[in-house]
């Protein structure tokens, strides 16, 4: 496989690093909203701090992406599949940005400052606004469902390319 068929090293690092981070964020989110166990508070604080890391990473990642040439999708791939592939990738970027943003805004309007690993705190509203809280809380929940579905589609498509079409799409990210 020639180098132009592969994602650049920086893009591969961003991809797998963020994959691990986002899967952990989803798992943490789903666990902490149901659990009454003593670790819930710890996990909640970790979720928020790493969520802020995620939004910084996705911005750096987008800038990095614009600076690199991407490997082309296989020529013989049906047009509709190429369209779905591109659209789903942009949707993933959108959600990776919108998830942490809605998370922060939900906490902002609920008047809950965010502690970042004990180093500093992000500000919250001095006066709680329950309508905006409700809006961003529900958005965070619905977008989480959309994100989980897209990740499933994404993994499904990667496996389809690798094992059924037997092309180089998955290898281009390894």
């Amino acid at each position: 496989m020639s180098n132009s068929d592969r994602f650049s090293l920086s893009m591969r690092l961003f991809h797998w690093g963020m994959a691990a981070l986002v899967l952990s964020m989803v798992a943490a989110g789903l666990l902490m909203v149901t659990s009454l166990q003593p670790w819930q508070l710890t996990l909640l604080n970790i979720h928020k701090a790493f969520g802020v890391v995620a939004i910084l990473l996705v911005m750096a990642r987008l800038i990095n992406r614009l600076r690199h040439k991407l490997p082309a999708l296989p020529h013989e791939l049906p047009h509709w599949q190429k369209t779905v592939a591109r659209a789903s990738h942009w949707m993933l970027y959108f959600l990776l940005f919108a998830m942490p943003l809605s998370g922060y805004l939900m906490q902002y309007y609920a008047g809950r400052p965010i502690d970042i690993f004990g180093w500093f705190r992000l500000p919250a509203a001095l006066q709680v606004d329950i309508h905006y809280y409700a809006l961003f809380r529900e958005l965070h929940g619905w977008m989480a469902v959309a994100l989980i579905s897209l990740i499933a589609l994404h993994i499904g498509a990667a496996l389809y390319h690798h094992f059924i079409r037997k092309d180089d799409v998955l290898k281009s990210m390894l």
Binding site: L43, P113, Q127, E138
Partner: protein
């Protein structure tokens, strides 16, 4: 860093011990609290209350123990709420077994503190899953709760308190307890476990009113006539005290420090005031105060968030429109 994070994610698996009682989720807990017919837009617990406002006047005596800015001599404004336990926003005030005070200090955009306190000094049980069973027993009736207490000797101190407790005629004349312990952390990083109580400065004989809103009417009239004051008293734990067990009071001999006075100067019906929008989650803490490992305390954040999510969504969908303050 990610390895650490993943390791932390695995930590929960370790704490799923095999021992009873069965683990209850935040959703199950709030379902039980709200009962069969929820009141849309209202809190699932302590649904009936009245907003209060005023300021905390610190005397500076606690400033050596905690770097939280409100303990420095001076005053900090608060928004608060006086409520009764229960899920019904129209319940008769004088029938409720527990009365409560919640406070919110928004000292700055990065330093906020929420407190939610009740009249009993201790809990009957020490973890949320047993607490769930206690509420089930209360809902099942007197025989069930009698049996529950018999099966749970850790409820001894709570029952002793309940047996001698005489409700006063006013929200102004009750003592409100943190029940759960917290750590105060000072500028040197030194940590001290504490509990606190808001202690009344007036005595008011039992209320003979037969109005459903007897306590709300009484406090509104009292505050309109002049300020209502509480002493904010902290009790410092000793090495012998277990700060993670909310069923055991600490001995009377423990050092106490009065941090200042809470001065209530205004009341507003809850749907017209600022307090209804606030979730008084006691785990929203400023720098200088931290949560202990008390399992009851640690269970509160997720349950309060679930109740808040439900009522906020209902309110967004218009549940409270046209409702007067009931």
């Amino acid at each position: 860093m990610r390895a650490l994070y993943l390791a932390l994610l695995l930590a929960p698996a370790v704490s799923f011990g095999a021992d009873a009682p069965p683990k209850v989720s935040a959703q199950q807990f709030v379902n039980l609290q709200q009962g069969d017919s929820a009141f849309p837009g209202f809190r699932r617990a302590h649904a009936k209350g009245i907003c209060i406002s005023g300021e905390f006047q610190a005397n500076g005596q606690l400033a050596d123990y905690s770097q939280a800015s409100l303990f420095k001599a001076g005053s900090t404004a608060f928004i608060g709420r006086l409520s009764i336990a229960g899920n019904n926003p129209t319940a008769p005030d004088l029938k409720a077994p527990v009365r409560s005070m919640a406070l919110s200090f928004a000292s700055s955009r990065t330093e906020q503190w929420r407190l939610a306190m009740n009249t009993p000094p201790v809990m009957a049980v020490a973890d949320p899953h047993t607490f769930y069973q206690q509420i089930q027993a209360i809902q099942a009736g007197p025989a069930a709760i009698k049996q529950f207490f018999a099966d749970h000797p850790e409820s001894d101190e709570f029952r002793a308190w309940a047996a001698q407790y005489q409700p006063s005629g006013s929200f102004a004349a009750e003592t409100y307890h943190s029940i759960n312990a917290f750590y105060l952390i000072n500028a040197d990083g030194k940590q001290q476990a504490v509990r606190w109580a808001m202690q009344p400065t007036v005595a008011v004989a039992a209320n003979a009113s037969d109005e459903a809103d007897a306590l709300q009417q009484e406090i509104a009239a009292r505050v309109a006539a002049g300020k209502v004051v509480f002493d904010w008293v902290f009790t410092l734990a000793d090495a012998a005290d277990d700060e993670t067990n909310p069923t055991k009071a600490w001995p009377d001999s423990r050092q106490q420090i009065t941090a200042g006075q809470l001065v209530v100067t205004g009341t507003t019906p809850q749907l017209e005031g600022d307090c209804h929008a606030i979730n008084f989650d006691p785990l929203v803490l400023p720098s200088g105060i931290a949560a202990t490992r008390d399992p009851i305390l640690r269970a509160r954040s997720a349950a309060y968030a679930e109740s808040y999510r439900r009522r906020a969504k209902e309110q967004l969908q218009g549940a409270l429109e046209g409702s007067n303050n009931e």
